[in-house]
């Protein structure tokens, strides 16, 4: 009996040893940051590049001496674009790996599921998800989002439409949770620009014909149509607008107006369609670095992960401590307008060590955040469909 007990005690001790040493190491050992990105599922095309950028950047920071005298250790998990898997992986990152920040959640459903774990454990969550509801969660400042939300995107669309000289705009929107908010914001900002939103039809995107909806829109003779659609319904709408002989401006989101759309509807039907999407800062040295890391044209999410890692490292450098709370408390201080403008974490960490103020602007643009954790502004690109191809119109 005694033998068994002692054997069990030895076993338990043996099992516990790594945790004890890890706990002790948490004060002086490496600072752990976690990536939680989609390696599989709908977000699967983006996750691997996001992790690659994070690894390269952490390597660069460590090679330059780490942060606050400590190395950064990156732990990467797959959220499978699935809230269940995301929560399991976040639990591992928080409970076992003791990370100070989780970086790169992509799907809004995953971010929403993982967020409470983060704020309850005082772990900072950096996300690229777009749903407006995310930053309305009671997150106590533990969520930072670099992806512009619907509110900012609608305002940008409205400003652009007003700037093209359109006086009346009609919105055709697929039935989504953000259709109404989006139209209200569009209408407010149009009014400020001297234009007017003349109506809104929210349609059932699963239908195969929108002729009557389009008749309703065209009756108002709008200068521009704001097509708040997804690719399948946009294809139908564009064809029907063409048939109806509509000659005004057609404006939509970049995620709906993809290359496949042009193949589906053909050059003639898509001609003149203007699409807009949040864009990385194409002229920034940080963007060039992400491009060099990936060896390809970066997607917006990889650029945002570059900024997440940089923001976390700089906040830790500013605080001199590696906890989630330290990142939370110092995140906004590294976007100090009076500080030296920097685009790389290594450069910023040196300045911070010398006691100087820094103003970080990343690959995705200026990283300034509202109190709720939303990005204040970002770059947008506008493309026009011409002869079956998209051409960059402008970058603002």
């Amino acid at each position: 009996m005694t033998l068994r007990t002692s054997r069990r005690a030895a076993l338990l001790g043996g099992l516990a040893a790594p945790f004890v040493s890890r706990l002790a190491a948490a004060q002086t050992g490496p600072i752990r940051l976690g990536t939680l990105t989609p390696q599989t599922g709908a977000g699967g095309p983006y996750g691997p590049a996001m992790v690659k950028v994070a690894q390269a950047l952490v390597g660069e920071i460590n090679a330059a001496g780490g942060v606050a005298g400590r190395r950064i250790e990156l732990v990467s998990e797959d959220d499978e674009t699935n809230p269940d898997a995301g929560v399991r992986a976040a639990r591992k990152l928080i409970d076992v790996e003791k990370v100070s920040a989780i970086i790169g959640t992509w799907a809004s459903a995953v971010t929403t599921a993982v967020a409470p774990l983060c704020w309850e454990n005082k772990v900072m969550l950096f996300t690229v998800s777009g749903a407006d509801s995310i930053t309305k969660l009671p997150h106590q400042g533990y969520i930072i989002r670099t992806q512009p939300n619907t509110y900012l995107q609608s305002a940008t669309a409205a400003k652009y439409l007003a700037s093209t000289g359109a006086k009346t705009v009609f919105a055709l929107s697929a039935q989504t949770p953000f259709a109404v908010d989006s139209y209200n914001r569009l209408s407010d900002v149009l009014a400020q620009g001297g234009a007017k939103a003349v109506g809104d039809v929210i349609y059932d995107a699963s239908k195969t014909s929108f002729r009557s909806e389009i008749d309703q829109a065209l009756k108002t003779k709008p200068d521009a149509l704001f097509l708040n659609s997804y690719t399948p319904d946009l294809a139908v709408i564009l064809r029907e607008l063409f048939r109806a002989g509509y000659e005004g401006r057609k404006f939509t989101f970049g995620y709906a107006a993809n290359a496949k759309l042009l193949d589906t509807v053909g050059a003639e039907v898509a001609e003149g369609l203007i699409s807009f999407s949040p864009s990385p800062d194409l002229d920034s040295p940080a963007f060039a670095k992400v491009r060099a890391i990936l060896g390809a044209e970066p997607d917006p999410y990889s650029c945002q992960v570059h900024d997440h890692i940089s923001l976390a490292a700089l906040a830790i450098g500013k605080a001199g401590a590696g906890t989630g709370t330290a990142i939370h408390d110092n995140l906004r201080a590294i976007g100090d307008a009076a500080g030296t403008k920097i685009t790389s974490a290594v450069e910023g960490l040196k300045l911070l060590a010398a006691g100087k103020a820094v103003n970080f602007e990343g690959a995705s643009g200026p990283c300034k955040f509202t109190p709720a954790g939303d990005i204040e502004g970002c770059r947008f690109r506008f493309d026009v469909a011409e002869k079956g191809k998209y051409r960059l119109l402008s970058l603002i």
């Binding site: 929210i202 195969t208 014909s209 002729r211 109806a244």
Partner: protein
């Protein structure tokens, strides 16, 4: 809003003709095999892809591609019934209906596996609408393509009526639909008739699927998107009745368009199902009753 009535009526009638073809397919299978085959959704998708291969890859004209859609979807219908559904028929219509839902999801994903999730379009020019002045009733616009589609649908329906009314095989099908017991006593091979019903039913689904895809796009969900409206049309007209399916398709098509006068377009789909509830409350067997094949 009432000034829009002529235009809404035209839009509804054109939508109805498009809906009628797969609805006839659905009701034909019901008439002979006595179960609602929801696998019609994936067969409409298969038809749309078969038409795509014929039209875009092989460069055949749309008319020939429609024929290809009919034949390929029909053959798939016979094969999948043989493999997946036939043995379940002894377990009752509910079991087969549930299995057909499972089958349609499997087939939809096989299409996705083979072709990916991307949208595709046919190699067809998009034509401008005709504008017709109706005088006091105002201007209406009519799409040449929709009229062509309606014509193709009418031809398919006409051929089916001729087949059922005047050929020996067609009469055999009607006999089985009318009274399977009596038909088997007369020596009609029920299995052959079942295969034929599947071929024609799923073939029409494929034909209708391609008509829908010509207006929208070819993707793995092409058939699924119209499934509920097809079901509504067949039930409103009277399950098992071919003229009923046509009438039901027009009721649902025109009803959905007219609903825009009173309701937000968001609720269009609900109108088809409201029509089911209302019609079934007063005529439990649908507008034309069942077994009028």
């Amino acid at each position: 809003m009432t000034g829009d009535l002529p235009q809404l009526l035209i839009n509804g009638l054109l939508a109805g003709t498009q809906l009628a073809v797969p609805a006839i397919g659905f009701t034909t299978i019901f008439a002979v095999l006595r179960f609602p085959s929801f696998a019609i959704a994936s067969h409409a998708t298969i038809g749309a892809y078969a038409g795509y291969i014929a039209n875009v890859w092989l460069g055949l004209p749309a008319g020939v591609a429609l024929l290809a859609a009919f034949i390929v979807a029909g053959l798939f219908g016979v094969a999948t019934d043989e493999i997946a559904l036939r043995r379940l028929r002894t377990s009752g219509p509910l079991t087969v209906a549930i299995a057909s839902v499972a089958l349609t999801i499997v087939l939809e994903n096989l299409v996705r596996f083979g072709f990916g999730n991307d949208q595709r379009g046919y190699a067809l020019a998009v034509l401008r609408d005709w504008r017709v002045d109706l005088g006091a009733l105002g201007m209406v616009r009519i799409g040449p393509q929709q009229v062509q589609n309606a014509g193709a649908a009418a031809v398919a329906m006409g051929l089916l009526f001729l087949f059922l009314g005047f050929t020996r095989t067609g009469k055999m099908m009607r006999a089985v639909a009318d009274n399977p017991m009596l038909a088997s006593l007369k020596g009609i091979d029920a299995d052959r008739v079942a295969q034929l019903a599947n071929f024609i039913g799923m073939g029409l689904a494929g034909f209708g699927g391609m008509l829908v895809a010509m207006d929208t796009a070819v993707d793995p969900l092409t058939g699924f998107r119209v499934m509920l409206s097809i079901f509504a049309a067949a039930v409103v007209g009277g399950l098992g009745s071919i003229p009923g399916a046509v009438l039901g398709a027009f009721v649902v098509g025109v009803g959905e368009e007219f609903s825009i006068i009173l309701l937000d377009p968001t609720y269009r789909t609900a109108v088809g199902f409201l029509a089911i509830l209302i019609v079934l409350s007063f005529r439990p067997r649908g507008l034309l009753g069942e077994r009028a094949i």
